[in-house]
């Protein structure tokens, strides 16, 4: 699990390799901001800013919370108990893994269908 956490460090540094994203972190270091605020400040479309925030969120550098129509961004990981935080990261790992497993199983199902028409193994 420690090794997986190290992989997350790579994520964090990849997220930091972009100047806009560094700017967003610096901005959030002063106060929380909505995605709309950030998009305006950095002269970007909402979609573009959402992507950047998504990368920062995946790296665990930013947390977002939606209240009504406004999504507010905060610096740092979710303010949960530390254990809950690492369980959540562990959950994300398994969630990503199982999404891939779903794809593999779907592919097997598809193959079985096409093969089934020709011959039966």
């Amino acid at each position: 699990m420690v090794q997986y956490a190290q992989a997350r460090l790579d994520h964090a540094f990849a997220a930091l390799s972009d100047a806009t994203r560094r700017g967003v972190l610096e901005r959030l270091g002063r106060s929380d901001a909505s995605i709309t605020d950030l998009a305006e400040k950095f002269h970007m479309t909402l979609t573009g800013m959402k992507k950047h925030v998504g990368v920062l969120e995946q790296a665990g550098l930013v947390t977002t919370e939606k209240t009504g129509r406004v999504r507010t961004c905060t610096l740092g990981p979710r303010r949960l108990e530390q254990e809950t935080a690492w369980l959540e990261r562990y959950r994300q790992l398994w969630d990503a893994r199982f999404d891939e497993l779903d794809k593999v199983v779907n592919e097997l199902k598809r193959k079985e269908k096409t093969d089934g028409r020709n011959d039966k193994e």
Binding site: V2, Q3, R8, E26, G29, L87, E88, Y90, F98
Partner: protein
């Protein structure tokens, strides 16, 4: 349709992960036990690692070994299969450290879908805590480095802006 993945700390020494997979149990079991299929899903892209090799001798007493590349370093995960019950149950050890858990995966089919329950039993409360803390420590380190970076950024942007 995407199914939900849950993780729960069942006791001081146990973690349980559950997920429903959209396929019959025989295919899901195949994906867990054939190396050529297993390697297609065990290392999601978001993990930032690549799988160098994957050897699995899936029978009671058989061994497995997974080797990963992570940046410049290499990591190996290995252990022994303790139980192999086709389409229903797999148990293996994680021997890369003394504190590694015993992993049990059960497969149950319902309406053409498969419910997976992965149970990890750690040798002690401390081992499970350490596994979690190790992950938390690595994140704390990221944040320390980030703090330093933010100080630098704030200093340089202070010069540009008023």
């Amino acid at each position: 349709m995407k199914n939900r993945t849950t993780v729960e700390r069942k006791s001081e020494r146990e973690l349980v992960v559950t997920r429903t997979i959209n396929g019959p149990v025989r295919l899901v079991f195949e994906a867990w036990t054939k190396p050529e299929l297993f390697r297609q899903w065990w290392v999601p892209k978001s993990l930032g690692m690549s799988l160098l090799s994957c050897e699995m001798d899936v029978r009671v007493g058989g061994r497995y070994r997974l080797e990963f590349a992570h940046g410049d370093s290499q990591l190996a995960f290995f252990g022994t299969y303790r139980e192999v019950t086709p389409h229903s149950r797999l148990v293996w050890t994680n021997e890369e450290s003394d504190e590694g858990p015993v992993t049990t995966v059960t497969f149950a089919e319902k309406g053409g879908k498969t419910l997976l329950v992965m149970h990890e039993l750690y040798p002690s409360k401390e081992a499970l805590d350490a596994a979690g803390t190790g992950a938390a420590d690595a994140m704390a380190e990221t944040f320390e480095q980030l703090d330093e970076l933010l100080v630098t950024l704030a200093a340089s942007s202070g010069r540009r802006e008023t």
